[in-house]
């Protein structure tokens, strides 16, 4: 077959496209489905990019997931008040569908206080699994099955050591943030104001597989191509401890915030064992989710509604696992179930 034959086969009869009708169609869809843009200008993104300039690509995804989980975790804290008490340690996962309205409220984590990293996440690359296991003291599960086009030869490995952060509630900050949104926050109980949460995450190991196309730098132009083909993360789940705040009161207070919709509050209250259930927030207009069995336990499958990617998250033997990538549901689940 000559180059000319390839040229002929690759040629299609392109009909003239009506961009204006197509634009009207997308406008209608965005309004009907109430699709929200994440950032409207480059300026907003550049700020985020500068902050994370030294952070490699995979950890950005992990950090995003962790911060969302942290928000949800704070919303689900429950337990018994002691001097230092464990409020949360995940043993299982559950999907919590959230809407854009919910996100608006939940994203206000920084509005209730200050998060200080005492030991910030410092991810680094390691050459192989053995080094990762040595660095973290974890037994790292590896896949025995990979989808076609994904090869261990192209794998990269990252390690994040144990990280700790302290979150300090502040009534002043809460009031100021609410005022900026023209809202009034319910008064923060005196024993919550100034109280601290101690948050521990990791260590974690990330196995990152691409098909050779992913750029090494997150600033590369090919932003879509930079999505990993497959990413496998395993880490010690977040542990949240408190210095003695009445945690039922904390839950009651957080769920009563103006940004938290009654529907979201009801869903969080409905979680049977909030101190050991990791809520996985699912933005309903961007992703779909369902409960699946993975590695013999309950997990949450998340599908990107554009069909571009999917993920499964579960918790087992003290670890939280996540497998994600630009793969189909069956491919993702096959990889997840092949971990050993």
């Amino acid at each position: 077959m000559s180059e000319h034959d390839i040229e002929r086969l690759m040629t299609v009869a392109e009909r003239p496209v009506d961009s204006e009708s197509a634009l009207a169609r997308i406008r209608e869809r965005i309004e009907r489905e109430r699709i929200q843009p994440i950032n409207r200008t480059v300026a907003g993104r550049e700020r985020g990019r500068r902050d994370g300039a030294v952070v490699s690509l995979w950890i950005k995804g992990l950090a995003a997931a962790a911060s969302v989980a942290l928000i949800a975790t704070l919303l689900t804290v429950s337990g018994v008040a002691e001097t230092i008490i464990t409020l949360f340690e995940p043993k299982t996962v559950v999907a919590v569908p959230i809407t854009s309205a919910d996100l608006t409220g939940a994203a206000g984590l920084t509005a209730y206080g200050t998060l200080t990293w005492s030991s910030p996440p410092k991810p680094y690359d390691v050459p192989d699994i053995a080094t990762a296991e040595k660095a973290t003291g974890m037994k790292v599960l590896v896949p025995s099955q990979l989808p076609s086009g994904v090869s261990v030869a192209n794998a990269r490995y990252g390690v994040m050591d144990r990280t700790t952060a302290t979150y300090t509630f502040s009534a002043d900050k809460t009031r100021a943030a609410a005022a900026l949104l023209n809202r009034t926050a319910p008064p923060m109980p005196a024993n919550i104001d100034g109280s601290k949460l101690f948050i521990t995450g990791g260590p974690a190991v990330v196995q990152y597989f691409d098909d050779g196309t992913a750029p090494k730098s997150a600033t590369s132009a090919g932003a879509f191509a930079s999505l990993p083909r497959l990413i496998i993360a395993q880490g010690k789940g977040p542990l949240v401890q408190s210095d003695g705040v009445t945690v039922e009161q904390l839950q009651q207070y957080l769920l009563a915030q103006p940004g938290i919709t009654p529907a979201l509050a009801a869903q969080i209250r409905a979680i049977k064992d909030p101190s050991s259930t990791l809520p996985v927030p699912i933005p309903v207009d961007m992703a779909t989710s369902k409960t699946v069995t993975v590695q013999g336990v309950q997990g949450v499958f998340v599908g990107d509604s554009t069909g571009l990617g999917s993920a499964v998250i579960w918790s087992k033997d003290g670890y939280v696992f996540g497998v994600a990538g630009t793969l189909t549901e069956s491919q993702i689940l096959a990889v997840a179930n092949s971990l050993h």
């Binding site: 390839i6 690759m10 197509a22 997308i26 994440i38 409207r40 590369s220 132009a221 554009t306």
Partner: protein
């Protein structure tokens, strides 16, 4: 107060910005063209293009310098995903294509449908990067544009394209 700014942005009413509309008008025909080379159906290609622009709108600012590269890559990957799941289902579209275009000579139309099915099947079986590379090149993208879209070095495009053509030949003639 970045968080508050983010909250405000998230709470803003949905709607298209002028920058997004300009990007859409500029890039939509090319995005459709890339998708059509893969799905081999003009209507389906437009559906793919719509999904690609919606995905972009959700996650990226319309004035981003990387926008065209992102859109081209997303068009190729989304269309490849579509034909792959179809190939898995084993659906053949020959009859469908014939019925859709009765004005064309039936003999010629049947041959065209056959070659469309062959190309789709070949692309679906190929390594995704190679398939995307081949399609982007035949959609008229320069080496620089392909390199940006697929996150490759400009200097390696020629070699990779040669390999992609070899792979395509093998798949079509197998």
């Amino acid at each position: 107060m970045e968080a508050v700014a983010a909250l405000r942005a998230a709470g803003a009413a949905p709607g298209l910005t002028a920058a997004f509309e300009a990007l859409f008008r500029r890039e939509y025909p090319r995005v459709v063209g890339i998708a059509q080379r893969i799905v081999r159906d003009a209507d389906e290609a437009e559906d793919v293009a719509q999904d690609v622009f919606v995905a972009f709108y959700r996650k990226h600012p319309a004035d981003a310098g990387y926008a065209p590269a992102w859109l081209y890559a997303a068009a190729a990957h989304t269309a490849l995903n579509a034909i792959r799941s179809r190939e898995r289902r084993g659906r053949r579209e020959t009859v469908h294509t014939l019925e859709r275009d009765p004005a064309v000579d039936p003999q010629r139309s049947a041959e065209e449908a056959e070659s469309h099915a062959e190309v789709r099947a070949a692309l679906a079986r190929m390594d995704e990067r190679a398939a995307a590379l081949l399609v982007l090149r035949h959609s008229g993208l320069s080496y620089e544009e392909i390199a940006a879209a697929l996150g490759l070095r400009r200097s390696s495009i020629g070699t990779l394209l040669g390999r992609a053509e070899d792979a395509f030949r093998r798949e079509v003639t197998r």
